[in-house]
Amino acid sequence: MIDRKDVEHVARLTRLHLTEAELERMREQLNSILAHLDTLRLVDTTGVEPTSHAVDVVNVMREDVEEPCFSQDAMLANAPDRSGELFRVPRIIEE
């Protein structure tokens, strides 16, 4: 069972501001979904390797060749806030 503190912890990890009512509803819904997902415990997976990926390719390499890339302007065009050539964000480090 997930309790209220777990929900708050996960919301903080994933950077999601949830209201009191949303935290409570999330706790209920996650518990109900997890109760269903817990049926996985019934499957015997002793000695079964995990599959992360359906294609058997590992570490695909290519030649490191220089080529044109997007301009700074193109990359900044969608930014909610910018300062010259930079993305602008609220202050991170206290003064």
Binding site: R15, A54, N78, F87
Partner: protein, 483 residues
């Protein structure tokens, strides 16, 4: 003209009976007249479409078309990045996002001369099975506007079913092409994972996502797949295997093929109308010379649970990029973390938040092995069972969905919505190709889909069986009346 397949449109272009401009204008006029009721599109690019149609017309006139898709009026699910055209993913957080580049799939379609009509609706970030949960508006099923078109690629399936595009593209992570194709009575195909580049496809679950076509018939499906399939050096998970000539394989029939019927897909309590339609379809295939054999895929009943750990885990990681810094919505906050948390709270809908929370929890310290690790091992079992079945049979045939299109608002509980994908999810977990082809109607006149699954990279045989079945039946002649 609106329910004519692409190959008939281009035949008419070749003969000079129809021009790409006239075709594009008809589709745009029909969208303007009818899409308010269907809600298939989020963005219509009228001017771009007409400009592309004029170019196509010039090529057909000069006798130099770029191929069988030149002048084909198509719609794209709004997860495929389109240069200069906003790409929203059905989310408020990307409402104003204008990509600086085309997805590889879009680039290839443009190079083939396709005319892009617009971007289609979806459940936000492709999380859903009904296209009710777009942040902008719901999409309705052209067969019955009170019902859902399926999802998450419901805008694309509704566009093709409603004659609002000649063909369309979607993405299938747990059934998001095959299920809406079944609900809307069109053909929809999920290729093998890695067959089609994911470059420029806004990611949901990177180990499961795959782009594929919606079409009026199987021949168009083959044409559309051929245009997008093949290795792309910009997607390191795309497979460097040659793409066969799907059209050349199409009419080889099913004689001598062995089709597997998985016990676990014909379950107690399944919709009797679906069971009857699918069993009749199997008899049609038997009549065409296919051998039918029972197979067993016992881990099927655990596939859904494994999927609903793997998908949220990968999605929570992929969606971490929406932080109000580089693109998308920003809501002010007192510091960086507060800004990010408020941006994500305002920008994501309820289902997206739920899956991000679930995925983050499943990946968090102390739970990783119990959930994510376990789910990945169950995935191995699902893959092994398919491999064992495909050692005995060439293809697997089954229903696409456990029920026909449901009513708007009918599945409010998240779990009951998840159960809709129970027959399509195993194909994603194992990476194999699958198609849904119309195989009948319920008593209420709603379409039913037959699912055909194949070995990895064996799309040609999947299409071949679907083509043989389609040619032997007349379901395609029935179209919804949207007037």
């Amino acid at each position: 003209m609106m329910h004519r397949p692409i190959h008939e449109l281009t035949d008419a272009y070749r003969r000079g009976d129809l021009t790409p401009t006239a075709a594009a204008e008809s589709y745009l006029a029909r969208i303007a007249a009818l899409d308010q009721r269907v809600g298939a599109y989020l963005t219509v690019v009228r001017d771009d479409a007409l400009a592309a149609a004029v170019e196509s017309e010039r090529r057909w006139r000069a006798g130099t078309p770029l191929g069988p898709l030149d002048g084909a009026p198509l719609a794209l699910k709004d997860v495929l990045c389109t240069r200069g055209v906003r790409t929203t993913c059905g989310s408020k957080i990307l409402e104003k996002f204008v990509p600086p580049y085309d997805a590889t799939v879009v680039e290839r379609l443009r190079a083939a001369g396709a005319v892009v009509l617009g971007k289609t609706n979806l459940d936000e970030f492709a999380m859903g099975s009904s296209t009710e949960h777009s942040a902008f508006h719901p999409t309705r099923n052209p067969w019955d506007l009170t019902r859902v078109p399926g999802g998450s690629s419901g805008g694309s399936s509704a566009a093709v079913a409603g004659g609002l595009a000649a063909g369309a593209f979607g993405t299938d992570t747990g059934g998001s092409i095959r299920q809406p194709a079944a609900f809307c009575g069109v053909v929809g195909m999920k290729p093998t994972y890695g067959r089609v580049s994911r470059y420029g496809v806004i990611a949901l679950a990177s180990s499961l996502d795959q782009v594929g076509p919606f079409a009026q018939d199987v021949e168009d499906t083959a044409l559309l797949l051929a245009a997008i399939a093949g290795h792309d050096r910009r997607d390191s998970t795309s497979i460097a295997a040659p793409v066969p000539d799907y059209m050349a394989e199409l009419s080889k029939g099913v004689e001598g093929l062995t089709l597997g019927l998985p016990d676990e897909y014909f379950i107690d309590g399944m919709d009797p109308e679906i069971e009857r339609a699918v069993r009749e379809a199997i008899e049609v295939l038997r009549g065409l010379g296919a051998r039918i054999e029972r197979v067993s895929l016992p881990t099927t009943r655990h596939a859904l649970a494994a999927y609903y750990i793997i998908l949220p885990a990968e999605a929570s990681s992929n969606l971490a990029r929406y932080d109000g810094v580089k693109y998308g919505l920003r809501v002010a906050g007192r510091d960086l973390i507060d800004m990010e948390s408020r941006t994500r709270a305002a920008g994501f809908g309820a289902e997206v938040k739920r899956r991000i929370m679930l995925g983050t929890y499943a990946l968090s310290a102390g739970y990783y092995d119990a959930y994510y690790g376990k789910a990945q091992s169950v995935r191995t079992l699902v893959r092994r069972e398919f491999a064992a079945a495909f050692a005995k049979v060439d293809l697997i045939v089954a229903p696409t969905t456990p029920n026909v299109a449901f009513r708007h608002g009918e599945k409010e509980d998240p779990l009951s919505m998840y159960l809709n994908d129970v027959f399509t999810i195993p194909g994603n977990l194992s990476g194999i190709p699958g198609v849904s082809v119309p195989c009948g109607f319920s008593g209420a006149g709603l379409p039913i889909g037959l699912q055909i699954l194949g070995r990895p990279l064996d799309e040609a045989r999947v299409l071949r069986a679907a083509y043989a079945y389609e040619k032997a039946t007349a379901w395609r002649t029935r179209q919804p009346e949207l007037v």
